[in-house]
């Protein structure tokens, strides 16, 4: 009877130890899980911060691209206009005599 009692106590002790070990495993798992989430949240913050910086840089790049294109277009338009003006002046110089005559006819009262 006494031997039976001793065995029962031993068995209970083993079970308690097993339960304790199990609790520890779960506790450690919860801690690890909390760290995984915390790390992920920090990674999310890093991703968002990097995205904000990238967005600023991207905005500057796009703005620069159009500003450069604008300057090129402006330069081409003005170059073409200057050439047209030179051409206009050249045509006008060759026609200045008839134009002066037209003015004279009018102010001298001949037309």
């Amino acid at each position: 009877m006494e031997e039976q009692n001793t065995m029962a106590v031993e068995a209970l002790k083993l079970i308690r130890e097993g339960e304790e070990e199990g609790r520890k495993l779960i506790e450690e798992a919860k801690e690890r899980a909390a760290k995984l989430i915390k790390d992920a949240e920090e990674e999310v913050d890093r991703i968002k911060e990097k995205a904000r910086e990238d967005a600023k840089s991207l905005a500057v790049q796009i703005s620069d691209k159009y500003a450069k294109k604008g300057k090129e277009e402006e330069s081409a338009i003005m170059k073409k206009a200057m050439a047209e003006v030179e051409n206009l002046k050249s045509i006008a110089e060759s026609n200045i005599d008839p134009a002066v005559n037209r003015v004279l006819e009018k102010i001298l009262g001949l037309v």
């Binding site: 995984l36 206009l88 009262g109």
Partner: protein
């Protein structure tokens, strides 16, 4: 079931629970990152779209401004050439006084201007009432017109039905040339001085000048 078996079962359940907890956490962490990445990509696309729109608008503004400047450049060239033509025409008047213009002597040109001015002044006058008019010239132009010429003009117009008397005034105008014809009482006049004619015909003249100056071929 023995105590050892119970302990093994407890451990197995704990291990299983541990795996489940970690798996759920890993999945949640993965979702958090995926969600943030997707959000960031969407935000990036929005930034690109917005900046592209702004860029295109800015480009269009630059092009519009450049086209306007180009037009201003052409207008300035036109204005410059018109001014040069008018300036040249005024300079040529001196030459006209000595050599005439298109077969017309300067005297004949002045006579024509006097005739036109007189007709304008007498237009609508009754045939019975006469008009006593005077002709005012610049000092330089005075020698080109004689009393006989004025008489001839007056006779010519009088023959049309209105009795006209034209005389040369002692007054002088400061002008490059041309004439003023006015009633003796000074109430009505036609100013045919060249500067006045130029101002009067300015709008039409500019059109004519542009057409002539910039005619190609």
């Amino acid at each position: 079931m023995g105590a050892r078996e119970i302990v093994e079962r407890i451990k197995e359940e704990a291990v299983s629970e541990r795996e489940k907890i970690i798996s759920v956490a890993e999945k949640k962490a993965d979702e958090l990152i995926k969600e943030a990445t997707a959000q960031v990509e969407l935000q990036k696309k929005r930034v690109i779209d917005a900046e592209e729109r702004k860029g295109v608008e800015e480009l269009e503004r630059i092009i519009r401004a450049a086209r306007l400047n180009a037009r201003k450049l052409r207008w300035a060239a036109e204005v410059e050439m018109i001014a040069k033509t008018l300036e040249e025409a005024m300079k040529r008047i001196k030459e006209v006084k000595t050599s005439g213009f298109k077969g017309n002597s300067y005297s004949a040109i002045l006579a024509g201007l006097i005739r036109d001015a007189t007709r304008s002044l007498t237009a609508g006058s009754s045939t019975s009432s006469g008009s006593d008019l005077e002709v005012i010239l610049s000092e330089e132009d005075a020698p080109f017109i004689t009393s006989d010429m004025l008489k001839n003009i007056a006779d010519e117009i009088s023959a049309e039905g209105v009795n006209i008397h034209l005389s040369l005034s002692d007054k002088r105008i400061k002008s490059a040339g041309g004439v003023i014809v006015r009633s003796k009482d000074g109430k009505v006049e036609v100013n045919n001085a060249f500067e006045q004619r130029l101002a009067r015909f300015s709008a039409n003249l500019r059109e004519d000048i542009v057409k002539t100056l910039f005619k190609r071929g």
